[in-house]
């Protein structure tokens, strides 16, 4: 247990403040993939980050572990600045901040046995004396629900779900306190998805591990995460406890995301499609970035950037429909008195 005790006081495990990620593109204009986003992962907490493809969530995930440099804002891991990867050795303390990628088939070496890939991670950090390595490898495999015999097999001998568990085991080899997982459940069948999702929750609770889980699937995130942040076109539009966010979305975009989720109940419910396309992040709409697709947009939305407001019940939202400090209300309950820009079809 003491292995995971906080090193620096008891601040958040991972804190991102006003982070900006800009990609310079030769011959094309620069792309601001993350345009000032903030996010906090408390110790032992599971935070889900959702949004459509192209919203910047993967860039934010990479920035949070220092894989891409930030152009503004700060990323702090247990109170320490996370610096981008360079040719120099990564500070030792940052090894406790680990990342798991979407496709374990490309992140695992196909030509080496699982055991030696896990041993590598142990060797690099010198965490375990060589006599104990085999035991630690078995322990890691056991943590992710795989038999010790998995160590002598190759990645292709496993199913997609098992490979993802191996990728998690490799991240756990560094004895991390925070795992950043980029779409770990995408491209898995329902049953494998359930297995990996349950495993992540279980690991987080057992090892008091903090998780930042990036996913486009709000339904699974609601099941797994304690807190959910919703990202749209490089900015955070809403954050709140998973349950209340799902049952009472405050931002029209969150509402649209939830309405688009199909229900497996046999009712024939046709999910609602959000009109329009995600705009080009190189040319985001002025003011509120969601206003051209928002059914409730009124004149202020196209004139002024919305401020992030605190709402009762540990929630924040960046929407002009909401009043700061007040009780949560559905977007549709607010605009009665407002001159809407366009009326929903």
């Amino acid at each position: 247990m003491n292995d995971n005790a906080p090193l620096n006081g008891d601040g958040p495990a991972l804190e991102l403040q006003d982070v900006e990620v800009v990609y310079e593109r030769r011959g094309r204009e620069r792309l601001r993939a993350v345009a000032g986003a903030s996010l906090t992962v408390e110790r032992g907490q599971i935070v889900g980050l959702v949004g459509e493809s192209g919203c910047g969530k993967s860039s934010l995930a990479r920035a949070s572990v220092g894989l891409v440099p930030t152009t503004a804002g700060t990323v702090q891991f247990e109170g320490r600045e996370v610096t981008p990867l360079t040719r120099r050795a990564r500070p030792r303390e940052l090894a406790r901040l680990q990342m798991v990628f979407q496709n374990p088939y490309s992140s695992l070496n196909p030509r080496r046995k699982i055991g030696s890939q896990l041993t590598d991670a142990l060797d690099v950090l010198g965490l375990v004396p060589s006599a104990d390595r085999r035991g630690r490898v078995e322990e890691l495999l056991d943590l992710v629900g795989l038999p010790a015999s998995a160590a002598v097999r190759y990645p292709h001998q496993f199913s997609g779900g098992q490979r993802q568990r191996i990728a998690v085991a490799r991240a756990l080899a560094a004895d991390p306190s925070v795992l950043v997982l980029d779409e770990p459940l995408a491209s898995l069948d329902a049953s494998a998805q359930a297995q990996v999702a349950n495993l992540l929750v279980d690991l987080s609770r057992r090892l008091s591990l903090s998780l930042l889980l990036i996913s486009h699937d709000l339904a699974i995130v609601r099941h797994v995460a304690d807190v959910v942040s919703v990202m749209y076109l490089g900015v955070m539009v809403e954050t709140g406890p998973a349950r209340s966010l799902w049952s009472l979305p405050l931002h029209p975009y969150t509402e649209a995301l939830i309405g688009a989720v199909p229900h497996p109940d046999g009712s024939g419910f046709l999910p609602e499609a959000l009109p329009g396309e995600v705009p080009d992040p190189a040319h985001p709409p002025a003011a509120c970035r969601f206003h051209p697709r928002c059914p409730y947009a009124f004149d202020r939305c196209s004139a002024e950037d919305p401020v992030t407001l605190a709402i009762e019940g540990d929630r924040t939202v960046a929407c002009w429909l909401q009043a700061g400090g007040g009780p949560p209300a559905r977007p549709a309950e607010r605009p009665k008195s407002l001159p809407l820009l366009h009326v929903k079809e």
Partner: protein, 319 residues
């Protein structure tokens, strides 16, 4: 379309592997017929067999009656004449099914000119009309654009427009929304639903996602290891699943109204590979309800109360 006793065997270094083992179904006009199951259950192979798209050396048995002909008996140009015109196909990843170097217009009009004998001008008009139907903004100028200029959702709409180009009576959609965001997925599902009503189109929807299935399929067949284990009307099957496998697939899904902290229920083990099909019921090694007979006898798919079910135990018959 009526498919009977479809069996597909693929050559492997260790002899033939049976990937589809005796499947029957029929698809009615303006209906969406859903084929569900985990990856490797034979969903896709059973469709490729109908279009003659299996790898070389594959052996196909059975019958697939479509428009008075047996698709499985047609060869070469005869098959292409039917499958190119009357059957449209949409795949999971539009970026691999669209040609990156050809304009949208070229890809849309190729089939129309070949199968319908349209002139260039007439084909262009029809192509623009199709793009408009799948809600591509500025359809005329889209004809001159290339696939990479569109978003994933728009590319899948374009792939659907191409599949519809020759006015098919049957559309086979293999995981058409799996690679898409939910908001875009909802748009594609609504599009498919509208097309089948407006065009009397039969749709075979292949997906592992029962939530997607629930929104537009009229009838559903659940595939497991190359066989159908349960089939029936969407509402009956998803509200009252009777096969333990159907039930398990549903329990694995995050349900929007589930109570707090209900863990998802994963199915233990993994589906068998075609080389190592277990004796008896193929699902029995993973089934919590299996009894003696399940390990020895393959349960037949029999009609029970308005559906078809292949289970010796039928543990949920009274629910």
């Amino acid at each position: 379309m009526e498919v009977e006793g479809l069996r597909v065997r693929l050559p492997t270094p260790r002899g033939f592997a049976t990937v589809v083992d005796g499947i029957d179904y029929d698809v009615e006009p303006a209906q969406v017929f859903g084929v569900a199951g985990e990856s490797g259950s034979g969903k896709t192979m059973s469709m490729l067999a109908l279009l003659g798209l299996l790898p070389a050396g594959a052996i196909v048995e059975g019958r697939a009656a479509f428009g008075g002909q047996d698709l499985l008996r047609l060869k070469g140009n005869d098959l292409r004449a039917v499958s190119g015109r009357d059957i449209g196909m949409v795949f999971q990843d539009p970026m691999t099914s669209l040609h990156p170097m050809l304009t949208i217009g070229q890809q849309l009009t190729e089939h129309m000119r070949r199968h319908l004998g349209l002139s260039r001008r007439a084909a262009d008009d029809r192509a623009a009309e199709l793009l408009d139907q799948v809600r591509i903004p500025g359809p005329r100028s889209a004809l001159h654009a290339y696939p990479h200029q569109f978003s994933g959702g728009m590319r899948q709409r374009i792939a659907i427009a191409i599949a519809l180009a020759c006015g098919p009576r049957l559309l086979i959609a293999d995981e058409p929304t799996t690679a898409l965001d939910v908001t875009v997925q909802a748009g594609i599902l609504r599009l498919l639903d509208r097309l089948r009503r407006e065009r009397d189109l039969s749709v075979v929807l292949i997906t592992h996602d029962l939530a997607v299935m629930s929104s537009i399929a009229d009838r559903i067949s659940i595939f497991y290891a190359g066989q159908v284990v349960e089939s029936g009307r969407r509402d009956e099957l998803l509200r009252h699943p009777r096969h333990p496998y159907t039930r398990a697939l549903l329990d694995a899904l995050p349900h929007p109204e589930a109570a707090r902290d209900t863990p998802l229920v994963a199915i233990k083990g993994a589906p068998p590979s075609p080389q190592q099909i277990p004796d008896g019921c193929r699902y029995h090694p993973r089934c919590p309800y299996a009894i003696e007979i399940c390990t020895t006898d393959d349960p037949p798919l029999v009609p029970v109360g308005g559906r078809r079910l292949a289970c010796h135990v039928d543990p949920f018959r009274h629910e």
